[in-house]
Amino acid sequence: MTVSLDKEQTSTIKDDFFEKHEDFSISGNEIDKMALYNQELIDRTQSATESQFSIGNDATTNSLVTNDSFIKSTVNTKKIKTFDFKKLPKLDVSQILSDSYYVDLQEFEGIVVSVSKDKKTFKARLLNKSTKENFLGTFNIDEIPSGDKELFKMGAIFIWKLGKEQNNGTQQNISQINFRRLPSFRKSSLKKIEQSAKERAYAFRRLTDKTTSSTE
């Protein structure tokens, strides 16, 4: 037995759908909305108790469209995206969102230990900040950003970043060196270091004196 749905009933299905998904705001383009709408129709027709029923009139031919033919035609069209999430209202607290960020990043702290005679490469002692492994690496001096070249010298400390950079939907591998702009030692720090050195020297002297007196 064929059940007919008139235009009004078909229109109600469409209105119901868009009412249910009115906060559908993630990707609001029409194609995606229609894809979901089609999926909804398929779901409803598949759950219908009647084996076959019409769901409306074809817009171009005005002939009756049944659930069978609709399903077949819809499944072959554009792949239906399923959206399993929706945005909740935003809070009035700004979250810093930079244009790009790093993914799968490894950071190494490096110290320049030598420079090649032709001044094209340099060697550095590297420390993997996650695994704490130490090793020696060789870098091209050209890899140093122009703004950091003034900081390059023996003993200079840098951070080497290895990983991927996510930038507006695209991802690219990165290998970046940035030299640290460290402050000079402050007077208070120098005083502390001096004090610490004096205390250690005193402790060693006492230890030496004790050792000497015990062997006599």
């Binding site: 810093i96 950071e107 950091d148 951070i159 402050r186 208070s188």
Partner: protein, 230 residues
């Protein structure tokens, strides 16, 4: 046979901000001052001045940024933010800023770190919120939005505070939906230091140096612990 794959909750788009409360002259902290004091390179400063649309230099506020760092200086507050790794850049920049300003008054400092976490599904997203805030007590308020993956209500923001034993500060963890990922969670952690008795920048920099690494690691562990068993 069903393949069991576990999802890794990874902090993404991390940022670190250092905030100093005190008395500052925003007009002094303009880009050339930063290059003169070797806090930024001349090339970075030239780039800042070229892209002036996101820079403000005025008597009461100074705002500008490089691809990695942002500086906001108001008369009573200074913020140094690292948008991305290495976060040491924020600490180094702050210490260089106060290098010649040891006697500047600083009454409070904040070490803040924030991360975005992608959630694998709406179900996990809501489970995260339900664990933080069980909905049983809210059934009269939420009604049909108490449960289900497509619910239209729930937890919007949560803050947890822990005051320091010495009474000179607190730590705050704030959780809200991520504006980077959907579904996603944004977790902001703040380590606040009150320096009402110790106000010179020199001493504050000592505290920063002592606590920067441990605070970031501690908060990262706290953030990750919120996803255990999810």
């Amino acid at each position: 046979m069903t393949k069991n794959t576990s999802f890794s909750y990874v902090p993404e788009n991390r940022t670190v901000s250092l905030v100093f409360v005190g008395h500052f002259s925003p007009l002094m902290f303009q880009p050339y001052w930063f290059s003169n004091h070797k806090i930024l390179s001349e090339i970075e400063v030239e780039a800042i001045l070229k892209t002036q649309k996101s820079s403000v230099i005025a008597p009461n506020i100074s705002v500008f940024s490089t691809p990695q760092l942002q500086f906001i200086v108001k008369e009573n507050r200074m913020e140094v933010t690292a948008f991305k790794e290495s976060f040491l850049a924020a600490k180094d920049a702050a210490k260089k800023i106060f290098e010649g300003l040891e006697n500047t008054t600083i009454t409070a400092m904040g070490i803040n770190t924030a991360s975005h976490f992608k959630m694998p599904s709406l179900a996990k997203y809501h489970k995260f919120g339900d664990r933080l805030s069980p909905k049983d007590l809210w059934k009269d308020f939420l009604k049909e939005n108490m449960s289900g993956d497509n619910r239209k209500g729930g937890l919007l923001q949560l803050q947890m505070v822990n005051n320091k034993p010495d009474g000179k500060g607190k730590q705050v963890v704030s959780i809200e939906p991520s504006s980077r990922f959907s579904p996603g969670i944004f977790i902001n952690c703040n380590d606040h230091y009150d320096f009402s008795e110790m106000t010179d920048a020199d001493s504050v920099m000592d505290v920063l140096e002592e606590n920067f690494d441990t605070t970031l690691k501690y908060f990262l562990d706290i953030q990750l612990s919120l996803f255990k068993g999810l």
